[in-house]
């Protein structure tokens, strides 16, 4: 029996007279120290750079122009398309997508396996997957760097087993960055998928089997569509941070494999940077992320109706 309004859905309102006071601190703190800064960043991206870092308050499109066109050292050559920055963005997107696919390939079976364990052992498996999630990302990335460096344990082991004749160059390659991103965000994929498989009612699978569906067909046609929200959430949780990642490209990729994160960081380091350009790059990154999240929100509301 629905207690309450009789309209079916009760929205608790026991603190409604004071809700504005309760919400005020979060509005103020986040509004003042994040929303305003982001708006300020947007403004900065349209300002003129000051050569020692910082800006001159003159309107300019130079930061965005610089992404697409090369106008020579003094800015007066005829504009040519400049591929350097575009390719950094494309590479970042590619790396993030690759990491997402890898995480999904490993993460889905893992999440599914854990969710189908008996309650007791499930907690232990879950605990094991959760620990890396809580371990400092910097430490994990440094550990990966240690593992795959030229004469690191991985190469030593492969040499020892006779798999290779000379140490493989792993560190400072695109592959290393890919591996690092995958390794960094793998738990982010497992946990949401686990949560949705855990809620999955296996009576559906039984019904499908009863109706002559082979096992892998059941997985593809019944399980996957039903746990899709968890998979999409996992993909977003991997893709979004991978896109703006800094540690993996910086520590594992070296200078050769520039990604957006490193590009942005460089603009604010010391006195050498270009703040409007960094702000513009940040704005572009932020816009890409917001577009992804918008698609996600739309897909979610479509699923609910």
């Amino acid at each position: 029996m629905a207690a309450g309004t009789g309209s079916g859905k009760t929205i608790s309102a026991t603190f409604s007279p004071v809700r504005h006071w309760l919400l005020m601190p979060s509005w103020l703190v986040i509004g003042f120290f994040l929303l305003i800064p982001v708006v300020l960043m947007l403004i900065y991206s349209f300002l003129t750079k000051e050569f020692r870092g910082g800006v001159i308050w003159d309107f300019s499109l130079a930061a965005y122009d610089q992404f697409i066109f090369d106008r020579g050292l003094f800015g007066d050559d005829p504009p040519r398309i400049e591929w350097a920055y575009i390719s950094i963005f494309l590479r970042s997107i590619g790396q993030a997508m690759g990491a997402t696919v890898l995480c999904l390939l490993i993460g889905f079976p893992t999440a599914y396996f854990i969710a189908t364990r008996p309650a007791k052992t499930r907690a232990i498996w879950l605990f094991l997957v959760t620990i890396p999630y809580w371990v400092n990302l910097l430490i994990r990335t440094v550990s990966m760097k240690f593992l795959i460096r030229d004469n690191g344990p991985l190469n030593e082991a492969m040499l020892g087993l006779g798999l290779i004749d000379a140490p493989l160059q792993l560190i400072n390659t695109n592959f290393a960055v890919q591996l690092g991103l995958f390794y960094s965000y793998l738990p982010f994929m497992v946990l949401p998928i686990y949560a949705s498989v855990e809620r999955y009612n296996f009576a559906f699978s039984e019904a499908a089997a009863d109706l002559y569906a082979p096992k892998w067909t059941i997985l593809r046609r019944i399980v996957l569509p039903i746990v899709k929200p968890g998979i999409i959430a996992g993909c977003i949780l991997v893709f979004v941070p991978s896109l703006g990642a800094f540690l993996a490209p910086d520590l594992l990729g070296g200078a050769k494999t520039f990604m957006i994160g490193s590009l942005i960081e460089e603009q604010f380091k010391g006195n050498a940077g270009n703040w409007p350009f960094g702000a513009a790059a940040s704005m572009i990154l932020l816009s890409m992320v917001l577009i992804v999240l918008m698609f996600y929100a739309r897909a979610q509301s479509r699923d609910q109706t």
């Binding site: 309760l22 979060s26 986040i30 960043m41 371990v135 550990s143 942005i264």
Partner: protein, 273 residues
Amino acid sequence: MTRPFDIRHYRGFFAVTCACLVILYAPLIIVMIYSFNDSASITNWGGVSLRWYVDVFTGPDSEKFKLAAWNSLSIAVMAATVSTTIATAAAIGMIRGGQFKGKSASFALISLPIMVPEIVTAVATLIFFSTIGFKLGTLSILVAHIVFCIPFAYLPISARLQGIEASFEEAAQDLYASRWATFRYVLMPIMGPGILSGFLLAFIISLDDFIITNFIKGAGVETLPTAIFGSVKQGIKPNIMALSTLLLMFSICLVTLSYFIGKRGEANPPPQT
């Protein structure tokens, strides 16, 4: 044990799970092992010793590490406390505030720090502080961490609160409790596990943060992550592996703690009347 035709079981998933755990743990375990290496070289094995642990506490870098650890811990405790307080109030306002205009805008604002990529938050905060002339240092780090931790504290707290039926508060108010007394004597004790796990999550997030801190720490102020990063830039040294192992252990202790808090929360689930 598993019947071959068990509808839940797929061949190969167990192997993938094991591979997943190997990938997740291998780098960490190898670093742990090498942190006990007696050799000054990170490549050659020179026997087991605690040499580099001693070095972390007494070696040439020890003063730097101690200061960084102190900064990290004090910032994390303060940031987690403040953000948990703000998040608790916000969760009550959102979930017990009824339907109101701007509710989804409020939710978007609270989740903003999670949605904006860390590096963008870092850039925006740096630009903001430098524009208003705020001196970069411990205080700027603290402020940024508070902002950043709010949604992380908010999530477990609001999840717990959503699981608690409003009839407890209605009963309290019906029994002559003021709004504050309702919170103090009824809501807070029942929300307890959620608030605690929110605090722990915020604490870890603050302790782990590198990117934002790196942007706005200003000259001379280091936290553990920035100190480790600075050191690793010049190559991985054995004392860094020892320090990393210590931090790793600290994190594992915290997870275990939160795991048991969660267990206790399960034993006293948000009472469903």
